[in-house]
């Protein structure tokens, strides 16, 4: 029983991590394409951009709903405290997601597309900004009392580091959005996004370097963990691998490859994610509450694990199927070959 009360929260921490990673990658390119749509030079291009998302944006966004539900059920205390503390960035994200979601349909029927174009682009940007600020705010730590309830102020999350995190996340979304568009488009449009991908690769790299430097300087608890033996060797590996991956990404962009840039970007996301997870673990409300303290009762975790656990592979399967059905380039405003 004793081991179970350690193992179960760990299992759920990993499941939440999987949901969050899938969300950040999938809705990441979704939001990234949305942000890039601001720069689209004409309506035809914007139509292609939106068509490339038409069939999958809803499923991508649903990973966020999954993560919310899983967090609520598995770590109710963390769900309550984090959302309470991050009220403003969360509302910012929600407003952004509303605008971009309705823009898909409203734009199609509208004669004045400009308004919904702005709603789509700005909504995507707002959602990404809210997510980045929330992520930064969580990593930085949340003021709680000994029961784990939020006792800080409404602007606690706002700091140099959280803004840096948000800007880097937006760059990352633009990067993965660009590489997705390289995959899904051709001709001039594809060429444009080789360009945006290269710019975003550099800006993401700069952000990542700054975060890597800032983390041990600003976060005392992280510093102790980062430089403790023997973890320091694992942690040291992450920036090295990161630079290597960015190098591979830029090489594949320079060689005008179509599929590999997207794959390298996904690996960069995965790597950053593992890094963040290792810094956060075992805290779910940094820097006070561990996953063991915030977890629901073991029986709840088992109950949820039975139902949700079985469904994870099934969900992944039919999501992949949907991508297979809609594989190929988006031509004009339809799926070509």
């Amino acid at each position: 029983m004793e081991t179970l009360s350690y193992l179960l929260p760990q299992v759920w921490f990993v499941i939440l991590g999987i949901f969050l990673l899938l969300y950040v990658m999938l809705d990441g390119f979704d939001l990234g394409v949305g942000i890039l749509s601001i720069t689209a030079s004409n309506e035809e291009r914007r139509s292609i951009l939106m068509t490339s998302l038409g069939n999958i944006w809803d499923a991508n966004e649903t990973w966020l709903v999954l993560m919310g539900g899983a967090l609520f059920g598995a770590f109710p205390l963390a769900y309550a405290t984090i959302l309470n503390a991050l009220y403003i960035p969360v509302i910012l994200m929600l407003f952004g997601l509303i605008f971009r979601a309705v823009a898909f349909e409203f734009r199609e029927y509208s004669n004045r597309k400009l308004f919904w174009n702005i709603a789509f682009g700005a909504g995507s940007f707002m959602a990404a900004l809210g997510q980045g600020l929330a992520l930064g705010g969580v990593l930085e730590g949340i003021a709680v009392d000994e029961a784990g309830h939020f006792i800080g102020g409404p602007w606690d999350w706002l700091s140099f580091q959280s803004v840096l995190t948000a800007l880097t996340l937006i760059q990352g979304y633009v990067l993965i959005g660009s590489t997705y568009l390289i995959l899904k488009t051709e001709g001039e449009l594809q060429k444009t996004h080789y360009g945006t991908a290269k710019i975003a690769a550099f800006t993401t790299l700069i952000g990542a370097i700054l975060i890597t430097i800032a983390t041990p300087i600003f976060y005392q608890s992280a510093r102790a963990r980062l430089f403790a033996q023997p973890q320091v060797y694992v942690f040291a590996l992450i920036p090295i691998l990161g630079v290597l991956l960015i190098g591979l990404l830029i090489r594949s962009l320079n060689r005008s490859q179509e599929v590999t840039p997207f794959i390298w970007t996904i690996l960069i996301f995965l790597l950053s994610f593992i890094g963040l997870g290792m810094i956060a673990f075992p805290y779910i409300i940094p820097t006070e509450i561990t996953i063991y303290e915030a977890a629901a009762a073991p029986s709840s975790l088992v109950f949820m694990l039975i139902f949700v656990g079985i469904l994870i592979p099934i969900m992944v399967f039919y999501n992949i199927y949907q991508y297979v059905v809609f594989r190929g380039k988006v031509v004009g405003s339809s799926y070509g070959e």
Partner: protein
């Protein structure tokens, strides 16, 4: 205390606003998804191309509603944590798991197959496409099931106990099968079907009355009429069962629904008030009109009661719902609409049996068609009224008898909640106006009766042509 109270009020207003607005969209799409399964099935079976065109036409309205439903649904999930943190922490072990189930079992299923259902006509075999449509409908209705499971548990908590204000689950299946769950699920399931059937029927009637594609829309009207024959009486039955459960499990709510201030002891007959003017301050109705023995018949189907009907004055004011008039009239509006639907169904069936609904004579049934047009928005009103009875009537409890709403709210700064509330109000107003505008545009534009279905026999190959349907082709159709 005062500032906390205001934040509670603001958070309640925000939850009410976002819930009332959000539900408008899924009640149509969950019911309409079943209609889409029916017409696509009819197409596959009869190969009558009209059914295929029905599927394509109605799915335009479907996706418009669906996207707003998704957009406004996400704030619902996150608000539990942001505005109701103490509640979430206290009941998360059970309630959170149920929302997690809804996301994994229902939402993802719906979202995962929606793309194929909307854009995959030329990309997958029709049978695979049909499976996708079924999965979307199944996912949507499964989501009704889990949401009603979660809400029913808040009405009649079961399956565990509260220890130091935190709910400890003892038996999950018992908690899922809380006393209200089965009837509440069916009540809502039928409500989504009724709403969408009368919306589809009302729009069809509008076309018939305007003499546009009468034969085409006579088909959809008859399909939803066939559904209404089964659903409208069943809904009245389930609604009655629900009220009886409220009588047993939530006496404060029943007293508010009936604006009953004084207790009616067992053995006496209870009148049912038809119209009343409840006066909360004086704790009585200023005036009312009553049907003799009505309530006794409604609750136990006999002239005298075997159990007492407790009046509101049995409880101190802080333990009973306020806004009695709202609950009282919402209940009557909801029930009245339920009976109107049944009456409209009977009238339509009568005309159908007399052979007056054939495609060449249906346009002459002008008053009947007007009745259906009138019915189109009523389902929404009934659902909203019903949820007002259910959730305002549950007050002052968030979890009935266990957690008070005032103790459930996060201690947020007033400025934050006020800003978000104003933001939601503005955005939702914009969405509502836009949805009506674009929805009526789709309706005015009408179905595309030239649309040819993908071949049933050949596998629709990816090599032949680019996918015919994409969202961007719709404005082109608008120019026709």
């Amino acid at each position: 205390m005062d500032s906390i109270l205001n934040v509670v009020v603001l958070s309640r207003m925000q939850f009410a606003l976002t819930a009332i607005f959000h539900i408008l969209w899924p009640i149509l799409t969950t019911g309409m998804a079943i209609y889409l399964v029916v017409v696509e099935g009819l197409w596959l079976k009869t190969r009558n191309v009209d059914y295929y065109r029905h599927a394509r036409f109605w799915s335009k309205l479907y996706v418009l509603n669906f996207s707003i439903g998704v957009a406004t649904g996400i704030p619902m999930e996150f608000q539990f944590g942001s505005n109701w943190a103490p509640l979430s922490e206290s009941i998360g072990d059970f309630f959170g798991s149920i929302l997690g189930f809804e996301a994994t079992m229902a939402f993802m299923l719906e979202a995962g197959f929606l793309g194929i259902m909307l854009f995959g006509w030329e990309r997958v075999h029709p049978v695979i496409h049909y499976l996708a449509t079924i999965m979307v409908a199944f996912g949507a209705n499964l989501s009704t099931f889990w949401i009603l499971t979660a809400n029913s548990w808040m009405q009649t908590p079961a399956g565990g106990q509260f220890v130091d204000g935190k709910f400890v689950v003892i038996d999950y299946f018992q908690a899922i099968q809380s006393p209200f769950m089965v009837t509440s699920f069916f009540h809502m399931f039928f409500a989504t079907l009724e709403t969408s059937m009368f919306v589809i029927g009302g729009i069809s009637a509008w076309y018939i009355l305007s003499d546009r594609h009468s034969a085409f829309f006579a088909k959809s009207l008859k399909i939803v009429l066939a559904g209404a024959i089964a659903i409208t009486p069943l809904q009245i039955y389930v609604g009655d069962e629900s009220a009886k459960q409220v009588y047993h499990y939530q006496p404060t709510k029943l007293a508010a629904m009936e604006a009953q201030w004084e207790t009616i002891p067992a053995g006496e007959s209870a009148d049912w008030s038809i119209v009343a003017w409840p006066n909360g301050r004086a704790e009585k109705n200023d005036w009312d009109i009553k049907a003799p023995n009505g309530l006794s018949y409604l609750l136990e189907f006999k002239p005298t009661l075997s159990e007492p009907v407790q009046g509101l004055k049995e409880w101190p004011p802080e333990n009973r719902p306020r806004m009695v008039s709202l609950i009282y009239y919402s209940f009557r509006i909801m029930s009245g609409i339920g009976f109107f639907f049944a009456g409209l169904m009977l009238w339509s069936v009568l005309q159908w049996l007399r052979g007056k609904l054939s495609s060449d004579t249906i346009a002459q049934q002008r008053w009947l068609m007007r009745g259906w047009i009138l019915a189109a928005p009523l389902g929404y009103i009934a659902v909203e009224a019903g949820w007002i009875v259910r959730c305002v009537g549950r007050q002052p409890w968030a979890v009935y008898g266990e957690i008070r709403t005032v103790d459930a709210a996060s201690n947020l700064p007033i400025g934050s909640v006020l800003t978000s509330l104003l933001g939601f109000s503005a955005i939702y107003t914009l969405l509502f106006v836009s949805a009506l505008y674009f929805g009526s545009r789709i309706i005015r534009q009408g179905p595309n009766l030239e649309l040819e279905p993908p071949g049933l026999d050949r596998p629709p190959a990816l090599e032949t042509s680019p996918a015919e349907h994409t969202p961007d082709q719709r404005p082109l159709e608008a120019q026709q």
